[in-house]
């Protein structure tokens, strides 16, 4: 048992008006056991969700097979709307994939203590979102089996990718981001895998965790090197958070299509991405801390901070929306003006425009009030609404820009097919499936960091 004095100190720790970053009374050993407890969970809810998400994943696999076998015509895309659900889903998922690394790397570099309890889950979310994000750009190709032509390699054809296009850069940015995120995540996992190896029962488990722990023994040298490496990776990952969605935004911004051709796109996309990622963190963390009883480790403080970040990002997004509209008006360009001032608010996809504004701009305004920042249902609902809003924003940017461009003769409406909807649902299923597997097999909170934080906080006792 932890001495009461120390527990009280932890509870009283940093300012933030009684919103401690950690309010556990458990000692190191108990904390370890509690945080490792979810591993191997066989709760009923887990199996139900697993079956559900597994079914959706099977649908996903089947529809991917169908698309590859029949052709991209099974989707609703047309000319002029040659990109639609595939690219919307890609941007949406990759946006969600931003919060994990943002929380881990940025907050580590900024020495924000509240990252420790949620970074593992957020990073896992990033990886799994990127898995989905990686599927779509390949799947949406007319001939996906030649996707590797976008990679610069010494081809016997003697042809390089076209570096004037943003797409090869896109491939590079996403694969780099995925690689670094994965390594960063795994590196952070190593001490915890070693703990799992040491603390869990069962030969096979211990063997598997033992192999994955890469022989970690927890020596001081190891810890020192670990921190250096972790810091370096954080330094590498932080700019990637900014670069990857900037490059993704160039997929649109380098085109001359009204609605795409805009210099604000890189920061606008990065902000939007982190925004949706934070929303997904809320949607995941709130139920997870509830079902595993981790309220003292993932405290209201974490949710509070996330809500504040959500508000900040929401305001930046509002600014971006405003600049987009203003630039269109100020340009005096007939095509820009039509796209932003006529087609979006009054065109065939006006519903998406107004829904985007309502969901993305109005929702976070709730969090000016502490009352709402405390309310779990409000936070969870806001997360869901923002996720929907951000998906619609990408729908608006892609479909509503493409469907009415320069020549009115080529204007044509877009409607998704059941395959489009099935693939979107399937991608959610795969994501949920991976999260469920993660919860069952991987320490979902960074044990070593939480324990370290506990000691740090105790030391900071005035």
């Amino acid at each position: 048992m932890t001495p009461p004095a120390e527990a009280a100190a932890v509870r009283a720790a940093p300012p933030e008006r009684g919103w401690p970053v950690l309010r556990t009374t458990a000692g190191d050993a108990e904390l370890t056991d509690r945080l490792l407890a979810p591993i191997g969970t066989t709760a009923r809810w887990w199996w139900i969700l697993f079956a559900l998400s597994g079914a959706l994943t099977l649908l996903y696999v089947a529809l991917i097979g169908y698309t590859v076998a029949r052709g991209i015509g099974t989707w609703g895309n047309d000319i002029p709307v040659a990109w639609a659900f595939g690219i919307i889903n890609f941007v949406w998922w990759i946006g969600i994939g931003h919060a994990g690394t943002f929380i881990s790397a940025f907050l580590l570099l900024l020495n924000q203590k509240w990252r420790a309890s949620v970074n593992r889950l957020a990073e896992a979310m990033t990886i799994f979102a990127l898995v989905n994000a990686g599927i779509f750009p390949i799947l949406h190709l007319g001939r996906p089996w030649f996707a590797y032509w976008l990679v610069p390699y010494p081809s016997a054809l003697g042809v390089w990718p076209n570096f004037l296009s943003s797409l090869p850069w896109d491939v590079a940015a996403v694969t780099t981001y995925f690689t670094v995120s994965l390594v960063f995540w795994y590196l952070g996992l190593v001490p915890d895998l070693a703990t799992a190896r040491d603390r869990l029962s069962g030969t096979w488990r211990r063997r598997v965790y033992g192999i994955l722990a890469l022989g970690w023994r927890g020596t001081a040298t190891e810890w020192r090197r670990y921190h250096v490496a972790y810091g370096l990776l954080a330094g590498l990952a932080a700019p990637l958070v900014v670069s990857v969605h900037s490059v993704v935004s160039l997929d649109f911004a380098i085109a001359q299509l009204p609605g795409w051709h805009s210099t604000i796109f890189p920061p606008y996309f990065v902000v939007g991405a982190i925004y949706s990622g934070l929303a997904m963190v809320l949607v995941l963390v709130i139920p997870v801390r509830h079902v595993f009883g981790l309220q003292d480790v993932i405290t209201e403080r974490h949710l509070q901070c996330t809500a504040k970040l959500l508000l900040a990002m929401g305001l930046m997004l509002a600014y971006s929306y405003g600049v987009e509209q203003f630039s269109a008006w100020y340009s005096g360009d007939v095509y820009e003006r039509y796209a932003f001032l006529a087609a979006r608010p009054r065109g065939p996809y006006a519903w998406a425009f107004w829904a985007t504004l309502a969901l993305n701009l109005v929702t976070p305004q709730l969090f000016w009030w502490e009352r709402w920042r405390r309310s779990l249902p409000a936070l969870f609902t806001a997360g869901v609404l923002v996720l929907v809003g951000m998906w619609l924003e990408r729908f608006l940017i892609i479909v509503a820009s493409l469907n009415r461009d320069f020549l009115p003769s080529s204007w044509h409406l877009y409607a998704p097919t059941w395959v489009d909807l099935g693939i979107l649902a399937g991608s959610l299923g795969l994501f949920a499936l991976l999260i469920l597997l993660f919860l069952r097999f991987v320490p979902l909170v960074a044990l070593s960091e939480v324990k370290q934080l506990r000691h740090e906080l105790a030391r900071e006792r005035p």
Partner: protein, 976 residues
């Protein structure tokens, strides 16, 4: 649509030739094939694998008679539609016709070919064509038909003089057919001959057809005549009209009075929409107006019609005509009443046009001015018919509603049908004989002006079959007639007086495609009855009823081309409707009825009802619904079956083309129409420009500033000797669509079907956009005269700074040194970024494997010089790069430099008005370089800095100052 039955339904590899296709030899094993391949290469046996006809056919004039495998040859022949011929040159690849062009020597073509001619090559390879002689439900053979029609057997059944024998023909002007009919009547003097086609040229009793000389007409007035885009001589007339329009001394002026909205009406400088019943009054008022303007006494002082605006319009037009007396033309539509046509004659006579701009020619059609040739109705009324030969046509489908053809066919014991398909009529007949396509048969034909041509086959019959001439000869008593011999015999008798002998005549006729000096003499005047029948009072528009017009479909005509997927998918010129027909209503009429495009209407008259979706078309006269014939087919043509609605079912004999008092009701059903262009207004943009005569295109933007242009980022590389470019003159373009079909045929462009069109996935490399150039609002477009509708062929602009090129991640679309934007199909991975970034949206994507279900027979049509694209790759106009490279190679073989005007694209070649000009910008005498400097030349979306290689020449609106106030060309619309 390639959903025909295939030989592969059991999963086996398709046979090289499906059942029914006559094989060139026994089935070969792979080993035998390779051996033969080697042998034929060694022996250079170029005749070995082709499907060349057995008889000698001769290529077009200037080409060498010997064959080089892989090098296509052109043969002259002629295609007839409603009995009148258009001379063609057909490209043949090793004995397989692939592409139809116009014959420059033929008066009805002058080198152009319309949509039907262009698409006819697909019909040749139509897998739904009938393949066997049929008797009842049994497969029979030609010998059985010969026995049925053998003189003795026939005589026993029809009587010694042939009282029980009836022949039903399509209109024909073929000298051979006419001669054979004479022989039939000699043998069976009491036999009846009847002619039927729903939209054949009319006969005013004196068999004179108007033959205007539009090259000299300063003012043209059309009375519901779509003379620029339909009819047997329209290619010639469009050409002549464009020649005068583009000549020095200012453009001509075109007035059009019409009920529907046609390409001719859209081309007009001034247009008046009237109900069909009003047309006689309008024509009479015009005549009165012209007489008044010319100061002829005893004429009413001014034309009068019901409403003031119409009267003012007619007065101005009449004054303009009178001022251009002797230099103008009045043409009346072929489906107008005799009164309107006679009034048009009277107008031309009054205006002194006869012998100057208006001539007349004797109709070459069988039965013109000949009372011994009966109609379909006479036939339906006939009793005691034993044997009826239906030699073409589909009367069960297209007869007037009150003519009971099915009953007739049930009554007659021996009915023989000759046709390309087991269509509605074939099914009702006891016997069916597969007909030969015109590219498979020998024959002859006459054009509208009487010019005769020989029809030579390019390919041995694909499915077997016979032609009408052979059946006629059989009836006339010949035992084993062969069309080739019949034809030679016929012309041997008539060419005997030629000094050089028959052989030389024959060769010359086959080579040139025209028989010299065979045109009918033209008369300088036509008789006008002293008293033209007074115009019938226009029917009062009863509340809740419409006047309904039946027009031949610009695509499938009377239904004979309904199985042609190219034509089904060709957007109808004025509505862009594909795969079906609809009742065209003006916005006011639609508003009154409370319907929108796609709402189904029930049109009823005389106890007959047609359920058809509505489509709102600004420019159609109020109170009128226009229906296109040729849909709602129910024959064996699988592509055609169930597409659209059979509009003919509404129209009785007495009102074949316009029916008043048709009740209309909404059924509540809604159809999603397969339109390729649902947006018509410009939204403040200027893809099409309209100028007054002599006025250059504005170089300023609407606000008066110089047009803003994006600055080029990259230095241009020095190019190849030739720099290819195109100009398209919007003032010459009528939007007829010939270029679209030509492009489709040349470049192996697939069809996607109605679903594909609704999904926005049509594959046309060249499309025709149509804008309401003067309508800033829907209300303006709905003005009674209709909007100023400008057609704009839109294809890859081959931008020098192409937006598609830099966004392609794999360099699948690149620029050639001679200025082509090239698409490398086998490098394309299908990101479609290029299409997103193309401001003209001319790129097309293979969403599915559109060639997967391509039948073995249809595959024969494919142009071997053009890659057939696979699934998942982008494609688009190449400026017919295969033609450019072929010409370059030819020039280099001949050791000379290629001239700037030597190469032409398929679209430019097909264009009857020469609106499209293609060539190199470099080199002396470059036509395209000259046109680029025209004051009317502009680039679409030039403010984007794409530097397109396609330039457009602005549409000219030569407004009559007296009418100009009613509608001025508006170049500057407010942004919407």
């Amino acid at each position: 649509m390639s959903d025909e039955q295939r030989a592969t339904s059991d999963g086996r590899r398709p046979a090289e030739f499906p059942p029914g296709v006559a094989r060139p030899g026994p089935v070969l094993s792979r080993r035998d094939f390779v051996r033969l391949l080697g042998a034929s290469a060694a022996l250079a046996g170029v005749y070995g694998c082709s499907r060349r006809p057995d008889e000698l056919i001769l290529p077009y004039v200037h080409q060498p008679p010997e064959l080089t495998p892989g090098v296509p040859q052109y043969y002259a022949t002629a295609m007839t539609l409603d009995g009148l011929a258009t001379g063609l040159l057909v490209e043949s690849h090793d004995g397989r016709p692939t592409k139809v062009e116009g014959n420059p020597d033929h008066p009805a073509s002058l080198g152009a070919a319309g949509v039907h001619e262009q698409a006819s090559v697909l019909q040749l390879y139509d897998p739904h064509r009938s393949r066997h002689v049929r008797h009842g439900a049994q497969q029979a053979d030609w010998d059985a038909v010969a026995r049925l029609l053998a003189p003795v057997a026939l005589g026993q059944r029809v009587g010694a003089r042939g009282e029980g024998l009836r022949l039903l023909l399509e209109p024909t002007a073929s000298p051979l057919t006419v001669a054979l009919l004479a022989r039939v009547r000699e043998r069976w003097p009491a036999a009846g001959v009847h002619v039927h086609a729903p939209f054949a040229a009319p006969d005013d009793g004196d068999a004179l057809l108007p033959l205007p000389d539009l090259t000299r007409a300063d003012v043209v007035l059309a009375l519901d005549a779509d003379f620029l885009a339909s009819g047997p001589f329209h290619l010639r007339w469009a050409h002549d009209w464009a020649v005068r329009r583009g000549a020095g001394g200012g453009p001509s002026r075109l007035y059009v009075v019409e009920s529907g909205f046609t390409p001719t009406g859209a081309t007009a400088d001034h247009r008046l929409a009237v109900r069909p019943g009003e047309l006689e009054t309008v024509a009479a008022a015009l005549l009165a107006g012209v007489r008044a303007a010319r100061g002829v006494t005893s004429a009413p002082t001014a034309p009068t019609t019901a409403d003031e605006a119409t009267t003012a319009w007619l007065r101005a037009a009449a004054r303009d005509l009178a001022a251009a007396a002797g230099r103008c033309v009045v043409v009346a539509g072929p489906r107008q009443s005799a009164t309107v046509r006679l009034l048009a004659r009277a107008l031309n006579a009054e205006l002194g046009n006869e012998g100057r701009t208006m001539w007349y020619v004797r109709s070459p059609l069988l039965g013109a001015g000949d009372a011994s040739v009966g109609s379909l109705a006479d036939l339906a009324a006939a009793r005691d018919v034993d044997t009826l030969l239906v030699l073409g046509g589909n009367p069960v489908y297209d007869a007037p509603a009150d003519v009971d053809v099915a009953g007739l066919l049930r009554r007659v014991p021996n009915t023989v049908h000759l046709g390309l398909y087991e269509d509605e009529t074939a099914r009702a007949c006891a016997w069916h004989v597969p007909a030969l396509h015109y590219l498979e048969r020998w024959g002859d034909a006459r054009a509208y002006d009487g010019t005769a041509s020989l029809v030579q086959p390019l390919v041995a019959p694909l499915f077997g079959g016979h032609c009408a001439d052979e059946l006629l000869a059989l009836v006339a008593g010949e035992a084993t007639p062969r069309a080739h011999d019949l034809l030679q015999t016929h012309w041997r008798g008539r060419a005997g007086d030629r000094a050089s002998g028959f052989d030389a005549f024959w060769r010359e006729a086959l080579r040139r495609g025209v028989i010299a000096d065979s045109a009918a003499p033209r008369a300088a005047s036509a008789p006008v009855p002293a008293v033209v029948p007074p115009p019938a009072a226009p029917p009062r528009a009863a509340a809740g009823t419409l006047e309904v017009v039946l027009a031949p479909c610009p695509k499938v005509h009377d239904g004979r081309f309904a199985d042609n997927a190219w034509l089904q998918e060709l957007p109808e010129p004025m509505t862009t409707l594909t795969w079906g027909n609809a009742a065209q209503l003006s916005p006011a009429t639609a508003a009154r009825l409370g319907v929108e495009s796609g709402d189904e209407l029930a049109l009823g008259a005389g106890g007959r009802t047609v359920r058809v979706p509505a489509i709102v078309v600004p420019g159609v006269a109020d109170g009128v619904a226009v229906l296109h014939a040729g849909y709602g087919r129910d024959g064996a043509e699988e592509t055609a079956r169930g597409v659209g609605v059979r509009a003919q079912g509404l129209f009785p004999r007495a009102a074949r083309y316009a029916l008043a008092g048709v009740t209309v009701a909404r059924t509540g059903a809604h159809h999603e129409l397969a339109l390729t262009q649902p947006h018509w207004r410009l939204h403040g943009r200027e893809p099409v420009r309209v100028v007054a005569p002599g006025q250059p295109v504005a170089r300023e933007d609407a606000a008066g500033g110089t047009r803003r242009r994006a600055l080029p980022l990259y230095e241009r590389q020095p190019g190849a000797p030739h720099q290819w470019a195109m100009t398209i003159d919007l003032d010459r373009c009528t939007g007829c669509g010939a270029c679209m079909v030509a492009c489709q045929a040349e470049n192996n462009v697939p069809v996607v079907g109605p679903e594909g069109v609704r999904d926005g996935r049509e594959m046309h490399w060249l499309r025709i956009d149509r804008y309401y150039a003067d309508a800033a609002t829907d209300a303006a477009a709905a003005a009674p005269a209709g909007p100023l509708s400008v057609a704009q062929p839109m294809l890859c602009q081959h931008c020098e700074d192409a937006p598609c090129e830099y966004v392609c991640p794999v360099e699948a679309t690149v620029h050639s040194s001679d200025g082509l934007n090239e698409m490398v199909y086998n490098r394309c991975v299908g990101t479609r970024f290029c299409s997103n970034n193309c401001p003209y949206k001319v790129r097309r994507f293979n969403w599915f494997d559109y060639n997967r279900d391509l039948g073995d027979v249809e595959a024969l049509q494919r142009n071997p010089d053009v890659t057939v694209r696979e699934r998942g790759v982008m494609e688009k106009c190449t400026f017919c790069v295969q033609r450019i490279r072929e010409a370059e190679i030819r020039a280099s073989v001949e050791g000379r430099t290629l001239g700037p005007n030597e190469v032409t694209t398929a679209c430019a070649q097909a264009c009857p008005t020469r609106a499209i000009v293609f060539g190199s910008l470099t080199g002396a005498g470059s036509e395209v370089a000259r046109l680029r400097e025209d004051p009317r030349a502009y680039a679409v979306l030039d403010e984007l800095g794409t530097e397109p290689r396609v330039r457009y020449l602005a549409r000219v609106r030569n407004a009559n100052p007296a009418l100009a106030a009613s509608r001025a060309p508006s170049a500057s619309e407010a942004a919407t």
